[in-house]
Amino acid sequence: MALFLYLIKKIFTLGPTFLGITLISFMVMHLAPGEPMSLQTDFNPKMTPEMRERLRAQYGLDRPLHIQYLQWLKGMAVLDLGLSFSPDRRPVWDKIKERLPVTLLINVLAIGLILVIAVPLGVAAAVRHNSFFDQVTTVLVFVAYAAPAFWVALLLMLYFGVHLGWLPISGLHSLMGYEQMSVWEKLLDWCRHLILPVLVSALGGLAGLSRYTRSSMLEVLRQDYITTARAKGLPEKKVIYKHALRNALLPLITILGLSIPGLIGGSVIFESIFAIPGVGQLMWTSVMARDYHLLMGNLVIVSVLTLLGNQLADIGYALADPRIRTGVQVED
């Protein structure tokens, strides 16, 4: 019951946050100079000022800003993100929909990779605190954390793509002969194209999370109940994996939730490097074309994903931590 109330309370704080996000996005876009029209009209010699005004009226850009925002919000209430300002005038949601799966796939794979590598690495370093292994991984993690992802991407492309010729360096699938492949060959082709992007997008998070795992584990291993468990004569394996790790993982749930914006933000960079048609690339083109609706749509989708990620983290935290689950902890 306490858990249920906790979740309800959480969900009610989402509404204002979401509204705030849309309001700030809208203001940022409209305070800056330039309009969707200017790209289409500025260099068109046949365009008269009257025609431009008519075009602006047609797109609703002549109305006061707060009306435009309320108009957009009204559409949002029925999940309508409006039409793109680009000449094709397609619904924004359609444009995002066809690109979202790719970005999500890469990010989910990257999170999976981060978890599978970072947690065991952090635990191993904490258990062998101050050993040679610990020192080496600490230095490596620092280096990985400081390396710019796009540079690592370039080096990997240079080595595996150009020098060794093992992996493709751009796109989602081969351009030549893709249609003739069998299902399995297509799958393999996809995997080969995904290896480098997933590796690159996981790198930063990998370093961060293994560092957090290590310090969280160290903190827990210092506590009295671990000494008690050892004094009871429990085998070391049980002390570490059953007693220590469970508590050490708690803060990591939150860290992982908070790292979602960064991961999605990274999409812009690696999608541009590897020429992957995802949301990051769409975002980029919408910024360049000042496509207000498309940009708003992208920001909304991304922030909703982030909010969802944070909520999942909170729920995971509540499920894992009995103090929240049973409502013993009153402080928020």
Partner: protein
């Protein structure tokens, strides 16, 4: 009364020789050396650089590293080492000023929220939550693409999107200190709110702010290089490590040195700031220090 007041208000951090602690940590010393070295390079760029970083030399384009050009030349025949040295100025400048802006905003908002609490706190922290929900690079892209991508704008935008961590730190510090005896003592002796906040509570928050700032410089340098790499940061022909990498990307198959060295420079710089920041954290945090378990 004055003497007692003085004694109570003095925070524990001020008396501890944490600098010596920093010296015992080899990683932190390495970080300090790297940062110091970079500052010297950036300051003395005109004397260190063997060539003019903008000088085009069409006779020597895309030459691999040699004695004449230690790090090779780019597609316009410009000396990569000289551009790298001048690029250090841009990276450090953007990093430090952006973080300076972030620290001022974060400290002010965090102090307001933590000192006054109630609805002011609620409002400010909700705002922090909202900004944290944006993938900052999207927000920066949106703003920079609309504004002019000048160095000044880049510093401002990175600063305006990275103050949230500092705000949270300062707020936490104010919340835990505003009920303490030394604040009460200051209040009784007639100190104003501003005086209590700035000269009694804030000095206690200097340590965590210093750590966050040092780590923040590394982050800001990474952001700047990513923006320049995407073409919306520092604009050519001004050399920045990020836009040098863009040239590397365009010549990936024929000139490895173009992508190798600028990236290495970014890595070493960010590494230096991160090592120094973590070292400061360990040296300033009495909890870690006293348990004798230094990282």
């Amino acid at each position: 009364m004055k003497a007692i007041n003085h004694q109570i208000t003095k925070s524990p951090n001020h008396q501890i020789p944490w600098l010596g602690q920093l010296g015992n940590n080899p990683l932190a010393v390495a970080g300090l050396l790297i940062v110091g070295f970079l500052c010297i390079v950036a300051l003395s760029a005109p004397w260190l650089a063997p060539y003019d970083p903008q000088a085009i030399d069409t006779w020597h384009i895309l030459e691999s590293p040699s004695m004449a050009h230690l790090l090779g030349t780019d597609p316009l025949g410009r000396d990569c080492l000289s551009r790298l040295i001048y690029g250090a100025r841009i990276s450090l400048l953007v990093g430090i000023i952006a973080v300076g802006i972030a620290t001022v905003i974060g400290t002010t908002l965090g102090a307001l929220a933590g000192f006054y609490g109630k609805w002011i706190d609620g409002l400010i922290m909700r705002f922090v939550d909202i900004i944290l929900c944006f993938p900052t690079i999207f927000l920066i892209m949106a703003v920079i693409a609309f504004l002019e991508p000048s160095i000044l704008n880049i510093m401002a935008v990175i600063g305006f999107t990275s103050w949230m961590g500092v705000a949270r730190l300062v707020r936490a510090e104010f919340m835990s200190l505003r009920q303490r005896d030394f604040v009460l003592a200051a209040r009784i002796s007639g100190a104003s709110n501003a005086r209590i906040a700035f000269s009694h509570i804030l000095p206690n928050a200097v340590a965590p702010i210093l750590v966050a700032t040092t780590l923040g410089v590394g982050g800001a340098i990474l952001t700047e290089s990513a923006l320049s790499f995407l073409g919306i940061g520092v604009q050519p022909p001004t050399p920045s490590w990020g836009n040098m990498l863009t040239e590397g990307k365009d010549n990936l198959e024929i000139a490895w040195w173009l992508s190798m060295f600028p990236g290495l420079a970014i890595l070493v710089t960010v590494l230096g700031y991160n090592l120094l920041g973590e070292g400061l954290r360990d040296a300033l945090d009495p909890r870690i220090r006293d348990s004798g378990k230094n990282n």
